[in-house]
Assembly symmetry: C2
Homo-oligomer: 199 residues x 2
Amino acid sequence: MKYSPLLDELISKLQYLPGVGRKTAQRMAFALLGQDRSRGLDLACAITAAMSGIRRCSRCRNYSDEEICPICASVKRQEEHVLCVVESPSDVAIIEQTGQFKGTYFVLHGRISPLEGMGPEEIGMGQLEELLRIGSFKEVIVALNSSVEGNMTSFMIARLAQRLGVTATTPSRGIPVGSELDSMDEGTLTYSFSNRKNL
Amino acid sequence: MKYSPLLDELISKLQYLPGVGRKTAQRMAFALLGQDRSRGLDLACAITAAMSGIRRCSRCRNYSDEEICPICASVKRQEEHVLCVVESPSDVAIIEQTGQFKGTYFVLHGRISPLEGMGPEEIGMGQLEELLRIGSFKEVIVALNSSVEGNMTSFMIARLAQRLGVTATTPSRGIPVGSELDSMDEGTLTYSFSNRKNL
């Protein structure tokens, strides 16, 4: 079907959204056109404002509307002297949802991956070193995903922390709380058995 | 998690899209921010242009960038003297994909439904009557969905066509081509058996 140029453009650009193929984009386009048009215009405004206005916090590299994000700006959180290093801003979001972590963050926006052109500079290793050097941190929690690249990056950060006299830790891995044993994959089970704890 | 105001606004407005809840909206927002920002801006432009520029064709009420849509503007399609009445623009899209129908369309943008405030005027019955009166149509194909409201609307259009001396037809219903008998619902099977055709 040949759509009108405007509709065709809308359907094609909606596919920039993750998980949205042609069929879903068509459904979204018709929904936007069928409902109150001001909602579509509001959506466009929100996207434009976010694309232009959201930058990286100059301290932790997390997304922020300001030069320094609210978490970094909080004296209370600075005074915890604990830094949590994560791969992406969505990791910060999910950790903040638990409400348990009171320290501050550092966002790598990726992991060391020569194939993807991600080196120490791209993930801000220099900035992290600077932060650890001047930040009087007692502990750095390295909370990266356990891929090959993630593990390599964790190792590099641990070595850096060691060199600067900061304790490096990582969240425990094993069977998720509330999960059934028989629904676990082999890798997790093997790991959690060889890393068992005293009751 | 309290996001920054701009990010919060983006996540909330992305939920205007059909089938997008908070979780998906978060994922979309982070993806838009993480990729080349010009793509997000392109998407916003496409939405704005579509919201402001796409209107209803003044003849068939389908979405169109122009006063008269390309299908209605085609003399060749007019000369088929067949009108297909559908509930929504997405129905036109799906029928056009088959490439089999050569006539023109009329889009109701809904069906008669007093509960939803949809009366004859909202679905353009007056405009349809006018079109059938002046259009020298031989046939009107009433291709609505078979809900209670859809059937009621089909009946009204059939009566209107009869009054104006135009043959009203409807696409056949039954077991979809390529479907297995044992995967069919009772309603479809009952219908297709009582409407069996000679081999």
